[in-house]
Amino acid sequence: GAGVSQSPSNKVTEKGKDVELRCDPISGHTALYWYRQRLGQGLEFLIYFQGNSAPDKSGLPSDRFSAERTGESVSTLTIQRTQQEDSAVYLCASSLGDISYEQYFGPGTRLTVT
């Protein structure tokens, strides 16, 4: 079956512009995660959705970052007024259940803020 997909694969934007990143999880996966990975670094947790529960936003670095998820399907991560330090690969993952389940990752969106 289809894996996790993300779009766009690459995004170049000017400082100060807003960007929207999309994630389509695996069908039936109730959990969805967003991570950020700066060049040469490990993954940094951003936000977690689980079913219809309130999302865990504890990893969002500032109020410029927000994310939404429609039911148990597509999610969008929005970064407003982008800054150069937002440049990174943004990875989405989904899983069948909570944190104890294996996470399946998408290919990521490489964001470059000029």
């Binding site: 996790v4 490990g42 993954l43 947790f45 977690y48 865990d56 690969v89 944190i99 104890s100 290919p107």
Partner: protein, 112 residues
Amino acid sequence: SQQGEEDPQALSIQEGENATMNCSYKTSINNLQWYRQNSGRGLVHLILIRSNEREKHSGRLRVTLDTSKKSSSLLITASRAADTASYFCAAQHQTGANNLFFGTGTRLTVIP
């Protein structure tokens, strides 16, 4: 930082040799997972070891866990050029956090 650390940061070996990567973490865990990442993009889950397990095997992979030392190791036996990738450990903390805490990764290069 609550992230784990891995060593070495980079490892270069000849095809056929074994590769060992180590991971240390900072707090009590429920489980520890290892992931592989090719070309800085999506991660692929390799193996999960629970806190009450000491060793686990999957094909050419062997993972050990020492909770008293808060450390884990990943051994890849009989390495192949296709094993060239970055390897990350990720810990599920007992704190109840909803996310995994990833290490900084080991960049493995297997020379044909």
